[in-house]
């Protein structure tokens, strides 16, 4: 069974540009989570999508947005990039049924803003 996939692996942008990151969940998983992992700051929750709807968002400005498609894949958009947006962005999926609430993570997208 294929795991969570993310693309691209690396992304280099300049300040002020927009970045789009993509995630495909494990087959059958309906929930997708996005996290930012900046150096020394651990994982910071960004967004949670389930069944196509945004269920919750973390303490990030509105220029961080996303969506979930009918096939449950997801896209994270970061507008007006700032230098401090440089980080590893991790996507995770979960089944959200029974006792299956653990998240399975993709390898991440390394975003560098110059």
């Amino acid at each position: 069974e294929a795991g969570v996939t993310q693309s691209p692996t690396h992304l280099i942008k300049t300040r002020g540009q927009q970045a789009t990151l993509r995630c495909s969940p494990i087959s059958g998983h309906t929930s997708v989570y996005w996290y930012q992992q900046a150096l020394g700051l651990g994982l910071q929750f960004l967004l949670w999508y389930d069944e196509g709807e945004e269920r919750n968002r973390g303490n990030f400005p509105p220029r961080f947005s996303g969506r979930q498609f009918p096939n449950y894949s997801s896209e994270l958009n970061v507008n007006a990039l700032e230098l401090e947006d440089s980080a590893l962005y991790l996507c995770a999926s979960s089944l959200e049924q029974g006792a299956n609430y653990e998240q399975y993570f993709g390898p991440g997208t390394r975003l560098t803003v110059t």
Partner: protein, 114 residues
């Protein structure tokens, strides 16, 4: 308020010795608790979870964790450490009181010394 805390940034242990990585949480009600491991340049891998039932849960790679409600702790343990266990370990809690959000600790870097 921090929902999950990992008090040790770094833990060193000799190969073959038992290891403990500490985690405490501060959510009310009945939390769902998780441990994840992150190897260099890779995404997070799910190790184990506590949802309900037996306070001692067993997971992948010989790891186990003990849920202690009175001490609000969920420490990760392994009876005999391997050099290959060296990695970054994250504790996480799912807080049903804040929109079902996951909170991750800041991580503990485990080094197993040969």
């Amino acid at each position: 308020a921090q929902s999950v805390a990992q008090p040790e940034d770094q833990v060193n242990v000799a190969e073959g010795n038992p290891l403990t990585v500490k985690c405490t949480y501060s959510v009310s009600g009945n939390p769902y608790l998780f441990w994840y491991v992150q190897y260099p340049n890779r995404g997070l891998q799910f190790l184990l979870k506590y949802i309900t039932g037996d306070n001692l849960v067993k997971g992948s790679y010989g790891f186990e964790a003990e849920f202690n409600k009175s001490q609000t702790s969920f420490h990760l343990k392994k009876p005999s450490a391997l050099v290959s266990d060296s990695a970054l370990y994250f504790c996480a809690v799912r807080d049903w009181n804040t929109g079902n959000q996951f909170y991750f600790g800041t991580g503990t870097s485990l080094t197993v010394i040969p």
